[in-house]
């Protein structure tokens, strides 16, 4: 009788001990591996035996190069008409089946004009004739709708272009002066925009603007899980890109940024510059700046031109002061270097 009881006790104790071991064991595995380190947002260094997931400091093999996009302007195939008008011809191809790595490890189905999000920056001078050969190689209907002044039939709304090779030629005079977005205008509109069918259209004044180091920033968001909330934000699509790859500029050199806000879902976006203020020209339609500030708030497709010069070299952040956006990727750095030739002339617009 005693034996049976103690046997039962032993059995019970060993069950409990065994179960405890099973429960404890997993925390002790994988202890000895190669150590890696990474730096946190607050500067602490963390060691891990595992894998680092860091959209900020991890170099990814993205298909889209924000550095190349930043200072790239497409002037088109130029010819002159009999009346002496400059004609700029473009070929824009829409696609909707590309999967791109938009942040390290994150693959997203982008819809593109000429293969990128944003599409190419189309640039012309006021009064030029634009002729845009639009080819839709996507599976759905797409169009190109330019903000600006043009005939109704060129508005890209009531003339949907069928997929799998449908074509349309948009022809209109560039105007008014300023910076404008263009985007697909097929319903459901939100879907076509957030997948990436948009780009920037710059119209220069005939007399030109002061020479400057010019760049384009499209503020955009990516809703990768389709819950009508953006998972990532960025200037030029790739989250945290310009923080990891600072934009190099010089002291005492005029910087001109064409900013277009294409963020959907969130009603506003904004642009804050560190260590400096900029002159802001809303929509770029006037030659006199409306604001001298370091903070501009923009709603959907609001855009403008920012001009500034840095006096002191160093690293300066620029980011959304809606901090949620900056902490999800809309943040970058200007790396200001001492200007080697302060008197060097910068060629404008070629």
């Amino acid at each position: 009788m005693k034996i049976t009881r103690s046997n039962t006790m032993i059995l019970l104790v060993s069950i409990i001990v065994g179960v405890s071991l099973v429960a404890v064991f997993p925390t002790f595995s994988d202890a000895q591996s190669e150590q890696k380190t990474f730096v946190t947002h607050s500067g602490a260094v963390v060691r891990t035996s595992g894998e680092v997931i860091d959209p900020l400091y991890t170099v990814s093999t993205v298909d889209f190069d924000p550095d190349e996009f930043l200072r790239n302007f497409e002037y088109g195939r130029v010819s002159v008409s009999e009346t002496g008008q400059t004609i700029r011809e473009y070929t824009i191809v829409a696609e909707d089946d590309k999967i791109q790595e938009i942040s390290p490890g994150v693959f997203y189905n982008v819809w593109t004009f000429n293969g990128t999000v944003p599409g190419p920056t189309i640039r012309a001078t006021e009064g030029d004739l634009l002729r845009i050969h639009f080819i839709n190689n996507g599976s759905k209907e797409h169009t190109m709708h330019f903000h600006g002044i043009h005939p109704a039939g060129m508005d890209g709304v009531f003339e949907p272009v069928g997929g799998n090779g449908g074509q349309f030629v948009y022809e209109f005079e560039a105007g008014p002066v300023g910076v404008h977005p263009y985007h697909c205008h097929v319903m459901p509109l939100e879907e076509h925009i957030v997948h990436g069918l948009y780009g920037v259209f710059i119209v220069d004044p005939k007399e030109g603007r002061a020479p400057a180091d010019e760049m384009v920033m499209v503020l955009n968001g990516l809703d990768t899980d389709f819950d009508t909330e953006n998972n990532f934000y960025a200037a030029n699509t790739i989250p945290f890109y310009y923080q990891h790859h600072p934009i190099q500029i010089n002291t005492h050199e005029l910087i001109r940024v064409y900013v277009v806000n294409m963020v959907e879902f969130d009603p506003i976006n904004n642009f804050h510059l560190h260590g400096n203020l900029y002159k802001y020209y809303p929509t770029g339609t006037d030659v006199v700046p409306s604001f001298y500030t370091d903070m501009i708030t923009m709603s959907q497709t609001e855009r403008g031109i920012m001009e500034f010069e840095y006096e002191y070299p160093g690293k300066y952040l620029f980011h959304a002061h809606k901090v949620e956006f900056s902490e999800k990727g809309w943040v970058g750095i200007f790396l200001v270097k001492e200007n080697p030739e302060i008197n060097q002339d910068i060629e404008y617009g070629t």
């Binding site: 947002h41 595992g50 997931i53 860091d54 994150v106 997203y108």
Partner: protein, 392 residues
């Protein structure tokens, strides 16, 4: 005849194997190369954040791939703000594989946090923590604290319950039956209690792919069958040895209550660990009152035997002390999966004891289970448990 014997054996084996062969052929046809027969739709990834720990300047999320396809963990966020993080051992998870995501973050105690994990196709999964509390470190102090709590809610109440033994001893046979039925009622309530807790844990922390309810049902039945079988063996041996049947039954009750209290301890430890319970004296009193009734359950079948204090105390320990082990495991190495398993095993054990008790009552009460004492005992048992459970 050797030969015909052999050939019939071969036939028998073949007839057993042939259906399997066809199953394999069918599987090969469906899943094999070119088998796009059931290529329906696109499988969606799914991960479940099973556990979130708040440690020194870091938030640790235990992530399990609970979807049909392998996933890559690529982004971690806290309150929907992206942070650099580490995934250990690595971010590639096969089905049901887990990884630990370490997110450096200066969190504040008692504030709510949402931890998000994004996988390779951009889908984000999140888990909300109501109130951040530092993860419990297995220090001696804390182990002692849990031991004390376990003693309060497990051992002491059971021991107090056992003190009713002399009272139960002196009452008439029908009243005795009342108490045995009462025991069965108490236990039935505990079984439901365990199942409810298991379902809660499963719903809150386990992914749908575990089929929580069916997992619980399966474990309950397996635990019931296993203990039923070994219990019968124990009773058979009791017949041949000096161990009396009531003692054997009391021992089985102790073991099953022990398993239940182990689950209760897990729940308490885990609740403290997750910071979701402020341990008030009121709560401990509630548990203690509730568990006192477990002592009656052990005492009732023993009451017709010669009382041996040592035997009784041992049974009290078997029933009560697992609460301490449970609290340790729940507090230091909590895993929702193991919790669900333990709670279900506990429920199965209790069902087994109820069956034994009812059988015994039937044998004792002249094959009659509908006597007033039995029915009222059962009912009062459930009621008492319900009323004391309100205190918790």
């Amino acid at each position: 005849m050797e030969l015909s014997n052999n050939s019939s054996k071969v036939k028998m084996i073949a007839s057993g194997i042939i259906p399997f062969v066809f199953v394999i052929i069918m599987m090969a046809y469906i899943f094999g190369p070119g088998g796009d027969l059931i290529d329906l739709g696109i499988p969606l990834p799914e991960v479940t954040i099973e556990k979130v720990d708040f440690v020194d300047s870091e938030i640790h999320a235990t992530v399990r791939n609970t979807g049909p396809i392998p996933v890559n963990i690529v982004v971690a966020d806290v309150n929907d703000r992206i942070h650099p993080a580490a995934v250990e051992p690595d971010g590639y998870l096969e089905r049901y594989e887990t990884a630990l995501v370490r997110i450096p973050f200066e969190w504040n105690e008692a504030e709510p946090y949402t931890v998000g994990i994004t996988v390779g196709d951009g889908t984000r999964f999140e888990k909300e923590i109501e109130s951040a509390a530092p993860a419990l470190q297995p220090t001696l102090d804390l182990a002692v604290f849990f031991a004390i709590i376990g003693t309060y809610v497990g051992i002491i109440p059971v021991m107090i319950g056992l003190l009713w033994l002399p009272f139960i001893k002196k009452i008439s046979k029908s009243k005795y039956h009342f108490f045995l039925a009462l025991t069965a009622g108490l236990l039935l309530f505990l079984a439901f209690d365990s199942i409810e807790e298991a379902v809660d844990v499963s719903n809150e922390n386990l992914a749908g792919s575990f089929n929580g309810i069916l997992l619980i049902a399966t474990v309950i039945v397996l635990s019931f069958l296993g203990l039923y079988y070994s219990g019968e063996k124990l009773v058979q041996r009791a017949k041949s040895s000096k161990l009396a049947k009531p003692v054997a039954i009391a021992l089985m009750i102790s073991i099953s209550i022990g398993l239940h209290n182990f689950g209760e301890g897990l729940a308490i430890g885990a609740a403290v660990g997750m910071g979701s319970i402020a341990f008030s004296t009121f709560l401990i009193v509630g548990f203690a009152l509730h568990n006192t009734t477990e002592g009656i359950a052990i005492a009732a079948p023993m009451s017709r035997e010669k009382v041996m204090i040592g035997k009784l105390a041992a049974m009290g320990m078997i029933a009560g002390s697992p609460a301490i082990f449970g609290a340790w495991i729940g507090g230091f190495v909590y895993s929702p999966f193991t919790s669900v398993i333990f709670l279900s095993i506990g429920a199965g054990a209790i069902f087994q004891v109820i069956v034994i008790l009812i059988k015994w009552l039937r044998d004792e009460g002249d094959k009659n289970l509908s006597s007033a004492s039995v029915v009222s005992g059962f009912a009062v048992g459930m009621l008492v448990m319900y009323l004391t459970s309100i205190l918790i």
